[in-house]
Every structure is written in structure tokens, then in C-alpha cells.
């Protein structure tokens, strides 16, 4: 089972903190990758919070391709950061030649565009860069969004941390929000795009478990948004549905749960809002999910949320001390980084709820 987690804090955190959350949860053969999306950045990125930041892992040729492309599109690069990697022999990591983080200014003619138009431009650009890199297998682009950085690699999470000097806590790469996954995968043919967290237009999501409705979800999502592509992992379905329900349909968050794990008809029948729930279930039946899984997501306003499948077949816990809140697969992770928290306030989300940690670090529970 992959371990997933998220940290949300009033202070800037080092990724090492996320590693401390995750590593105690490791069990058995549990080391095929590490990935994180961090948001509300400090350190070297602190000055560029409103500038879209591109996260790339690529070859030299790939880097040039992207540079050319961005230039022709009128994006102006204003900052570039290349993590100083530590090439120790014997590390279990399948490293790419280059990891590049570039912040851009919007093209001239977009400076006064509406936020929605800018957001669509960022999506289109990421998709175009992805296609560009994919064509000659020159690398990967994980996110392109202001104040959001993605790092993913295949290998043992500890070694990946050594490689990227994540233990060093230099203060370069810090953030107030971190969504993270330590990957366990018995499928050795894995591609980097299949590693969570996934990102689209401000929505970040990682999940563990399985989605047995992958095929029908995928078949439906493909026609909903041009950004719903890839489908390297059955967990991308969760992200796309989240994005669709919150951003496209603009429904309140509790309805996400009604879409992915609708109530049985007999229960809907007994509720005062049965008309709405029945319509959701019949219209969005192809977004229903199935199988054991837990989802942890971060929304564009930086709130974090978690929910589970309708049979609650995967664990998850939410807890914290008011300064830092954490969501994680298992309690041992929380005990390591937040041993002093009031454990009585820990929340073990039920199969019929969505738990949200708001930007103010308040915990909200939405019953389905």
C-alpha cells in the first residue's frame, strides 16, 4: 500500500519534515518512489509567488526544447533554480539528467487577462510542453502554476532525499503546504507520470489503493476536459473528478463525495435532498469510484482535504497542534512529527465524510 500524507503549517516547512512523516509508515517492499507537490513557497521562490513556476525533469535537449517553446509563446523567464544534487554512488534512484524549476512572467498580451483566462493558458502551456517532451522522450513536466513546485523520482525515498539534499534543511526549498507520497508499487514498468501527487490547475491529489472503476471513469473524463489526459494511474480519476466538480461545475465540496461514492438509492430515498442526490447519481454515474482507497488533496485556496471509499477499506488520520496540521495514512507518522499534539482531537474520517483543513487550519467535517 502506498503511504500518502500532507502537511499544512503556519510556518514554512522543509521537505525533510514530510519525509519524517512518511518514513515511519514504511513497511515491507515499500520504496519504489517519492513525490511531493509543495505550495505557498518560501526560500529561493519566496519572491516569485505570483509567477507561474514550471517543474521539469528532463534531458538537456528537453530543457532547450522547453526554453524555445516558452520563448515563442511570449513567456519571459525571470528565475531558474536547479537543485544541487548529491551524486553519491550506490543510491537507489533512477535520476533524470536535469531537474529545473523556472518561474515566468505571463506573455505581454495576457498580463491584463482575467484569472480564468490565465489559468487556462497555464494548463494549455503545460499540456503543450508535455506533448513536446513526450514526442522525443526528452522528459517530464509536472506542474506549471504560481507558487507550486513538484518533485518526483523513482527509487527509495531515503535515497531520493539524499540525492536532492532534502535532509540538509538549507532553507532554499521550503513551503507551508506539502502533499507527499512514498510509493509502493509492484508494477515495475512505472512511468513518472504515474506517480502521485497529480496536479491540475491548482488542484493536487494523491491517493492510495485502487480504483476499479478506472476504465469507466477514464472513458467519461476524456470528454470532459482537454486537461484530463495521461491516465497513467487509476488515481488520476480522483483528481479529475475533483477538478470537475469544484472548478467546472462549481459545486460545494461535500458533493464531491456524492459524486464519487454516491449513497445507495434506498438511503437517498429517505433524505430531504433526494431529488438533487438522485440527479447527481444518475448524471455522474460514470464518475463513481470503487475499490479500496483514500484520497488526500489540496485545493487552490490551499485547504487540504481527505476522504475514503464507501467501504472505508484504507486508513487515514487527520491531526495537529494548531500550528501544523497533518493528514497521513497511518498514525505513526503523525506521532513522529507531532508527538505533543492533543491526540484526542485526532480525526479518523469515516466512509461517509470529507474532512477539510481550511487555510486557517480549522478542521471541518462534511457528512455526506
Amino acid at each position: 500500500m502506498c503511504r500518502i500524507g500532507a502537511l499544512k503549517s503556519k510556518q514554512y516547512l522543509h521537505p525533510a519534515q514530510a519525509l519524517r512523516l512518511m518514513i515511519p509508515q514504511q513497511e515491507g517492499h515499500d520504496n519504489s518512489g517519492f513525490a511531493m507537490v509543495i505550495q505557498d513557497l518560501g526560500g529561493v521562490f519566496g519572491k516569485y509567488k505570483d509567477k507561474p513556476l514550471m517543474s521539469l525533469a528532463c534531458t538537456q535537449k528537453g530543457a532547450n526544447l522547453v526554453e524555445n517553446y516558452m520563448e515563442t509563446r511570449g513567456f519571459i523567464q525571470i528565475f531558474e533554480w536547479v537543485p544541487p544534487v548529491n551524486k553519491v554512488a550506490g543510491l537507489d534512484i533512477k535520476a533524470m539528467p536535469h531537474y529545473i524549476y523556472r518561474a515566468y512572467d505571463y506573455p505581454e498580451h495576457y498580463r491584463k487577462a482575467s484569472p480564468a483566462a490565465k489559468e487556462d493558458l497555464l494548463l494549455d502551456t503545460r499540456l503543450a510542453v508535455r506533448a513536446l517532451l513526450e514526442k522525443d522522450e526528452q522528459g517530464y513536466v509536472y506542474s506549471f502554476w504560481p507558487d507550486v513546485l513538484t518533485l518526483k523520482e523513482i527509487g527509495d525515498p531515503r535515497d531520493i532525499a539524499v540525492y536532492f539534499r532534502l535532509w540538509d534543511e538549507t532553507g532554499d526549498m521550503i513551503a507551508k503546504n506539502i502533499v507527499v507520497q512514498c510509493r509502493q508499487n509492484t508494477n515495475y514498468e512505472i512511468v513518472r507520470y504515474a506517480a502521485h501527487p497529480f496536479f491540475i490547475q491548482g488542484y493536487t491529489l494523491c491517493a492510495n489503493g485502487e480504483n476499479t472503476f478506472y476504465t469507466k471513469n477514464k472513458e467519461y473524463q476524456r470528454s470532459l476536459n482537454k486537461g484530463y489526459i495521461g491516465f497513467e494511474s487509476d488515481s488520476q480519476n480522483f483528481l479529475y473528478s475533483l477538478h470537475y466538480v469544484l472548478r467546472t461545475l462549481k459545486w460545494p465540496i461535500k458533493y464531491y463525495k456524492h459524486v464519487i461514492t454516491p449513497l445507495p438509492f434506498a438511503e437517498i430515498e429517505k433524505r430531504p435532498d433526494r431529488d438533487v442526490l438522485t440527479l447527481i447519481r444518475q448524471t455522474l454515474g460514470h464518475l463513481e469510484i470503487n475499490g479500496p482507497n483514500t484520497i488526500i488533496a489540496m485545493l487552490p485556496d490551499s485547504s487540504m482535504m481527505t476522504c475514503c471509499d464507501s467501504k472505508k477499506l484504507r486508513p487515514v488520520i487527520v491531526g495537529g497542534d494548531g500550528e501544523t496540521m497533518a493528514i497521513s495514512s497511518e498514525v505513526c507518522g503523525l506521532n513522529t512529527i507531532l508527538p505533543h499534539r492533543n491526540k484526542e482531537l485526532d480525526v479518523y474520517p469515516g466512509e461517509r465524510e470529507i474532512v477539510v483543513v481550511t487555510p486557517e487550519l480549522e478542521v471541518q467535517r462534511w457528512k455526506q
Binding site: F213, P252, P262, L284, N290
Partner: protein
């Protein structure tokens, strides 16, 4: 010495030969009385017999006239192999035996008349569904469900489903509120008792199915719906509470609709739906036919017609395009019940089904509530044999293609797909239904298997299939009051109820191992096939 006349028809030319054992027969006459086709008769034969009556053997030969049971030769009274003679014989002295060498197909067009019969296709018995199996079984990470204890949502939509963006919702605080009416959608059992008219069926057979429908709904929590078939319904039912379990069919002959319309002001509830029948899988392009022999007095009353051959034209008069069919028929039938009752359409599967479905999907008025595709293995009360055996289209690939056509447009599930024609042909309708649902159907409809449960002895190999004659030996497909009495309504209804209760368990037994609580519509990933061509055509995994 008799002269050989080669053109005479003999019993050996017929599809069934009667195997009669005179040493067992007591000449009670039961078989002759039971044979509705008068295919056998009691006759006298001159026999040479050797008898010995004394204490010592004193064999003596003489000729004497003895009574026998004899099969009639000639084509007017052909034995159909129904086996009623065997069923009634107290001594097991008689039975029909299939005659592989018969020449019946060359003999029965006498007078230049095309062969008509009932039943089903008798030459395309290939079953793709049996080459497909449920191959994705949840085991470790995704545990199987317990089919006995888990709650399953075994329901399918009947009605027009909207796209997400079309839902009339507004956000009020943390809630969504409904701000306008939406098209009616009923969530019903994913199996419909389909379209056999009272007329094609005897009143008793129809009643047995209606009774089973009501019982399944009221006592077994299986919300199955029954389609009336073309030909109306008894007025008493139209005016009763039970109308809510009925889907009323309208076909090209519009039979029965004057009564339905007259009953409308007196209806205490809405029907479950309306089904516009455009075509039928067993005989696509051929209209409906109720032979005069079956137009008894009560049928004349229900349909409002005189005793005559009742022909439904092969097409709906005045419909010249799909667009118009959507607009005119759907609109008027939707309006008839003030847009409270979903209206669906049934077509024979055809090479063109996808175009039809694509057109329906564009339905701008939200008035098409279902597309029923009827495959060539469906049955019928009466048709030309050439239509039965040589026209039609298998349903499986058509359902799949229609579903994938909808997927391409992001419109899957908007107009529910229902598949029929040969469902349960080998006895297990649950397996067929499950596989079709995985391929994209929302539900299935069954007909033939219902009458088989009532006792019909017809099959795909030419047995009986005499539903057009008015002589149905089981009382199912005839209006002859003496024959109809052969059918016990309660026993028949019970057989259907039992089958459906088992069907429900079997469906859950298939949902459980793939870990599904709701119907696996479109879960083609759950299926595998050992036939490469089938895998390619249906876009499912090939396994060997």
C-alpha cells in the same frame, strides 16, 4: 404390390417421426386427444399376427384388423415435436423423434405461400456471450464483496438522463438546489419483461407474467417492469394501481391505443413508461402479425378490431427520418402523460444501429428515455420463416458499438441502452445480463425465456415454433379456450418469480467478485475472452 410414387409425402419426409410402441399402448387415446396439431390419429391396420391360445404351443397365423396410433403423413398436419403425446401417455408408449433427413423445407411452400411460423431464429445459434467470461476477480487489494450480506444497488435508469452541465442546480450556501423540472427517470430492475402482447400470448400466459411482475415488486423487492407488447391491456389493469409496473408499448399498428386513451382520465397512477416499437430483432423489417386464428372475441375487444389477420405495418406511417421520430412520436407520447412518464424506443439491431443511436443522442428536447436494441435471437409469435432465419443482427457487438459511440461524445448513460434478443438462451440470463452490462448496456429485456418458464417447449432447433397457428400445445400462445386451460396461471407465475429471485442472487454472485455494489455499466475491464476476434471487436482483453 404397391407402386412407388416418389412425390408422395411420407412420414420420413417430416421433421419429427413418432416412435410408437404398440406393445406398451393400451389405446387409451390420450395422445391423440392431446395433439393440437392432429399429427397423430387412431387408425386400423391390417396385420399379420401369429397367436397360440392352447396349453401346448399351437402357433397359427392369421390376418386381423388392429387399432394403432399412426402419424399422419402429408404437410397439413405436421408433427412439431412438442411432446405433448409423450407427456400424457400413461404407459410411455409414444414419443416424437427428430428426423435429421427430413425434406420439410422443400415441401411446405405448397400453393406458392411463404412459410410462416413462430418462435425464433433456427440457424444462427452462435453465442458470443458464452465466449466471454468475467476475468477480473478482486482478491488482495480490492477485496471481493460478500454476495449474501452486502447491499447491492441493482437498479438501472429508464428515462432521459441529463449531462452534468444541464442539471438545473443553483448553489445556495453549502447546498445545491433544484430550480427546474427534469425529465422523468425511473430506476428500475435491470431486466424488463418484454413486449409480448395479449393476443400473441393467451390471456392466461399474459396474466401469469403480470402476476409475477406484481409479486416481484410487492413481495420480493425486485422492481421489475413489464412491457405490454402491442395490443393494449385489459381496462381493469389500466385503471388499477398496478399500472405503475407496466410499460405500455405502441407499435406501428397502434393496436389497443383507443382503449388506452379512453382509460387515461381514469388512471389512478402513471404507467412505468412508454415503449415505441420500431422494429423487432426476430424479424426486422417485417411487420407484426396476429393471425385471424388467434383473434378471439376478447382480443377483438381489447384491440378494438374485427376477426381478421391483424397486420402491423413494418414501419410507422408518416415517419420518414430519425429526427422526426424523435420529434413527433416521442413528443406526442411524452405530452400524453404531461412529461411525467419516460418514453423509450425499441429497434431491431442492425448494421445501422449506431447511426440511429447517435441521432437519438442529439435529442434536443430531452424526450428520448431509452434505446432498446433487439438482437436476432429474439422470438416472435408469427413471422415469415425467411425473416426469422435470414434477417437480423446479433445484439452484443451492437450494444458495445452504441456504448462506445456515446463514450466518444461523452454522452454515455444519457439515453440508457437496453439489450434483448436471446438473453438467457442457454438458461442463465444473469450471466448474459451481467456481461452485456459490462459492455455498456444499462439493462436487458427478456421475452422467450418467460414463456419457456411458463412451459413453452419451443427451441432453436425447430422444436414446436408453432406460435402462429393458434394451436400452441402449452396454452401459452393461443386463444383457444380449451388449450388456454392447459396453463396454470399460479404455477406459471411462480416459476417466473422463482427464476427472478435466483437471477437476482446470480447477478449479485457476479457483482461480488469484481467488488461492485452498483451495476458495472461499462466495466469492460472485468471481461476477458479466449477468442481473439471477439476481443478485438468488443475491445476487451484477450486471454488464453
Amino acid at each position: 404390390m404397391e407402386t412407388v410414387r416418389t412425390q408422395d409425402v411420407s412420414v420420413n419426409d417430416l421433421p419429427w417421426k413418432i416412435d410408437w410402441r404398440d406393445e406398451r399402448c393400451t389405446m387409451c387415446g390420450s395422445c391423440v386427444a392431446a395433439c393440437t396439431f392432429t399429427a397423430i390419429e387412431a387408425a386400423m391396420e391390417r396385420r399379420s399376427v401369429t397367436i397360440s391360445t392352447g396349453h401346448q404351443p399351437e402357433p397359427a397365423q392369421r390376418h386381423s384388423a388392429v387399432p394403432v396410433i399412426r402419424q399422419r403423413s402429408g404437410t397439413a398436419h405436421i408433427c412439431v415435436g412438442c411432446g405433448m403425446c409423450e407427456k400424457v401417455c400413461p404407459n410411455k408408449a409414444i414419443r416424437p423423434v427428430r428426423n435429421e433427413d427430413n425434406r420439410v423445407n422443400l415441401l411446405t411452400r405448397a400453393g406458392g405461400v411463404a412459410i410462416k411460423r413462430g418462435g425464433r431464429n433456427n440457424i444462427m445459434a452462435d453465442r458470443v456471450l458464452d465466449k466471454v467470461i468475467v476475468g477480473r476477480i478482486s482478491q488482495m487489494t480490492d477485496p471481493s464483496l460478500d454476495s449474501e450480506r452486502h447491499t447491492f444497488d441493482v437498479l438501472a435508469p429508464f428515462g432521459r438522463v441529463l449531462l452534468p452541465g444541464e442539471l438545473p442546480f443553483t448553489v445556495n450556501g453549502d447546498n445545491l438546489e433544484l430550480t427546474a423540472k427534469t425529465p422523468p427517470v425511473h430506476w428500475i430492475y435491470p431486466l424488463i419483461f418484454s413486449d409480448m402482447s395479449v393476443g400473441a400470448l393467451s390471456t392466461r400466459a399474459w396474466e401469469a407474467i403480470a402476476l409475477a411482475t406484481a409479486y416481484l415488486n410487492e413481495k420480493c423487492n425486485i422492481p421489475v417492469r413489464m412491457s405490454s407488447g402491442e395490443g393494449g391491456m385489459p381496462v381493469k389493469l389500466l385503471k388499477s394501481e398496478y399500472l405503475k409496473y407496466m410499460i405500455i408499448q405502441i407499435a406501428s399498428g397502434h393496436f389497443g391505443w383507443n382503449r388506452i386513451i379512453k382509460a387515461m382520465p381514469h388512471m389512478v397512477t402513471d404507467p412505468a413508461g412508454i415503449l415505441i416499437k420500431i422494429g423487432q430483432g426476430a424479424k426486422p423489417g417485417d411487420g407484426g402479425l396476429l393471425p385471424a386464428a388467434k383473434v378471439a372475441e376478447h382480443i377483438q375487444a381489447i384491440r378494438g378490431v374485427p376477426k381478421a389477420d391483424l397486420l402491423s405495418p413494418p414501419n410507422h406511417q408518416g415517419l420518414y427520418s430519425i429526427e422526426e421520430s424523435v420529434q413527433k412520436m416521442h413528443m406526442s407520447l411524452n405530452a400524453a402523460f404531461k412529461f411525467r412518464v419516460p418514453v423509450a424506443i425499441k429497434c431491431a439491431a442492425s448494421a445501422t444501429s449506431v447511426s440511429v443511436y447517435n441521432n437519438l443522442l442529439r435529442d434536443p428536447y430531452y424526450i428520448c428515455g431509452g434505446f432498446f436494441i433487439d438482437g436476432l435471437q429474439g422470438g416472435t409469435g408469427a413471422a415469415n420463416e425467411v425473416s426469422l432465419d435470414h434477417t437480423g443482427h446479433p445484439v452484443v457487438s451492437k450494444v458495445r458499438e452504441c456504448y462506445l459511440a456515446a463514450v466518444k461524445q461523452g454522452r454515455q448513460g444519457q439515453i440508457p441502452l437496453w439489450a434483448g434478443g436471446g438473453i438467457g438462451m442457454t438458461g442463465n440470463a444473469a450471466a448474459d445480463a451481467f456481461k452485456l452490462i459490462c459492455l455498456g448496456a444499462n439493462g436487458v429485456f427478456i421475452g422467450k425465456i418467460l414463456i419457456q418458464l411458463l412451459g413453452c417447449v419451443g427451441n432453436e432447433r425447430g422444436r414446436c415454433n408453432a406460435c402462429n397457428t393458434g394451436l400452441c400445445p402449452t396454452g401459452i400462445c393461443t386463444q383457444d379456450p380449451r388449450l388456454v386451460k392447459r396453463l396454470d396461471i399460479d404455477k406459471g407465475a411462480q416459476a417466473i418469480v422463482d427464476y427472478m429471485v435466483a437471477f437476482d442472487q446470480e447477478l449479485k454472485k457476479l457483482m461480488a467478485p469484481i467488488g461492485n455494489s452498483s451495476l458495472p455499466v461499462g466495466r469492460s475491464d472485468a471481461l476477458v475472452t479466449t477468442d481473439k476476434a471477439v476481443a478485438d471487436k468488443l475491445a476487451i482483453q484477450y486471454a488464453c
